[in-house]
């Protein structure tokens, strides 16, 4: 594999192949005639924190949803943790076990308690005994500071609490990479911080993260690289400081002026 041509961050010296968590080469995707992803080339190294931003409809969510095959790409190669993503269901499931995902609308399982939400995948996918799965779930629920709600159902929690449970649920599978798909966009303003705090802690612990978000404060604090997408293309990619202070492309400047403008 060649070093990514798009790596402008300056953080990465050429690293060995096993350090690449996600690689995308010439990835294209269409919804019918609509070209959502155009020639996407990028890579994520182990421990990197990447923030993807861009106007709505720019393909950011589609991009990260391709990584665990919630969306199918039609052209190009995606390799996750050294495993090439193909049509093979077994391989897709193998990749999904190592990739955690947090959704905009939490998608907790409403018929299960918070604790069961966190245990169901370890028990049924990793075949852990119930006791072990529950102990582990309680540890992660404590980490996201919601252990006291373990016996409640998701419908009884606030949005911010639900999203923290969703993060714990993903962590229970010990993922190598975490994908965040606009994790704070559906939250009331006063709840955004409690979720971001958890995400910052996670980043500080060295988790490899790909985060689609409009929280530029978060990007400035934790991101190693910020990627700007528009109309299905990666327009600009840079370390946060140069990205925010000195954006190169006109579209990036426009976008940043719109979201930071007031």
């Amino acid at each position: 594999m060649t070093q990514a041509a798009t790596n402008l961050s300056g953080t990465g010296m050429s690293k060995s192949k096993s350090d690449l968590m996600v690689e995308m080469r010439g990835v294209n995707k269409w919804y019918g005639d609509f070209h959502v992803l155009r020639d996407i080339d990028f890579e994520v190294k182990r421990g990197e924190r990447i923030v993807i931003c861009g106007p709505s409809g720019s393909g950011k969510s589609t991009l990260i949803r391709c990584i665990n095959h919630l969306e199918e790409h039609q052209q190009g190669d995606i390799v996750v943790g050294g495993v090439p993503l193909t049509q093979d269901v077994k391989r897709i499931e193998q990749i999904r076990r190592s990739v955690g995902m947090v959704f905009q609308h939490f998608n907790l399982f409403p018929h299960l308690t918070v604790l069961e939400n966190c245990c169901i995948a370890p028990m049924w996918v990793q075949k852990k005994p119930r006791r072990e799965a529950e102990e582990q779930a309680m540890r992660y629920l404590e980490r996201v500071r919601i252990a006291e709600q373990a016996k409640k159902y998701p419908g009884q929690l606030s949005g911010g609490q639900q999203q923290r449970v969703a993060i714990a649920r993903s962590l229970c599978m010990h993922p190598d990479v975490m994908l965040f798909d606009e994790p704070t966009s559906a939250l009331d303003p006063e709840m955004i911080k409690e979720v971001l705090d958890v995400m910052v802690e996670l980043a500080e612990e060295g988790m490899t993260m790909l985060c689609v978000t409009h929280e530029m404060g978060f990007a400035k604090t934790v991101a190693d690289r910020v990627i700007f997408m528009d109309q299905g293309q990666i327009i600009e990619e840079n370390a946060p400081e140069p990205f925010f202070n000195n954006p190169q492309s006109e579209r990036t400047q426009l976008f940043l002026s719109q979201i930071l403008g007031h």
């Binding site: 919630l70 499931e93 999904r96 995902m101 959704f103 409403p110 018929h111 159902y153 009884q156």
Partner: protein
Amino acid sequence: MIHNQTMIDQRPAPSNTLGPVAWLRANLFSGPLNTLFTLAGLYVLYLLLVPTIQWAFINADWIGTTRDDCSREGACWVFVNARFTQFIYGLYPRSEIWRANIVFGGFFTLIAWLAIPRLPFKRWVAVFALIGFPIAAYVLLHGGYFDLPRVPTHRWGGLMLTLLLASVGMIGALPIGIVLALGRRSNMPIVKSFCVIFIEFWRGVPLITVLFMASVMLPLFLPSGISVDRLVRALIGLTLFQSAYMAEVIRGGLQAIPKGQEEAAAALGMTYWKRMGLIVLPQALKMMIPGIVNTFISLFKDTTLVMIIGLFDLLGIVQAALSDSNWLGFSLEGYVFAAFVFWIFCFSMSRYSQYLERKLNTGHKR
């Protein structure tokens, strides 16, 4: 600006908004027109109920053995009384009725065990109810094993047959319906078209036709020498017919589950069957309890149609008894009895489904 420094104590509600008198005033006598309607309604109720109660209870005759024991002023329950064994067991030999009784006892015990929340070992009882009990019931009812005399299925009848048809139909139709509903949403074109054709075929044909075909036409297609029991043919026809309806009910439930649920399950690495079995189906089935029970109730009542292929379910045996020359003219009593028994079972199912809905409601909004 502070309005109130001290908290206001709780006060009781005004007395004219509580109690039965207040309720009556608010709901039945809130104005001259409403009062008029209430009185008129009570009068109609009086006109209907009094003669009914007089006929069914006060002037009715209960004890006796022949029609001469009836005064004929009210209902002649003597008829139902005299024929009761037949209504329950059909033409099952009198000497062997203890076998049917054991099955009845087991049947109702298992249902009660599964329905009463306090009782333990639900899972094992359910497994036994679905696997062990049907085999035991078949051995007992049919006989031919362990020195039990054989009782051919054409002698089974009455309520026993109705319950047999209904419970086999329900237990069969639910899983087949689930598989068909999942298949209809499948991405695999062959599976999908098979399920669509299957569902649309069975939904497009009247049940009477299905039963006729099962009893008259099926033997024509089977190689000579092979014969399938008439009861088995009716069971298969009834089950497949109802499973098509069940599939559409469950498909409605599946569609109501947000796509995000399956995506979240997929993102955790679950296989298709785990996503369905652990995440999507439990929610869909819970949501569809009213529809599923509705299908069960209609299945329960549809079992009466087996009459036309010569099986005597409860309604069939009542009708047969009505044509007995000793008991001519008691059709009202016969039909009221049959309707009452059907109503008891259907009403219990309906109440149980409402209870289940409340119990399984985890109060979630998405």
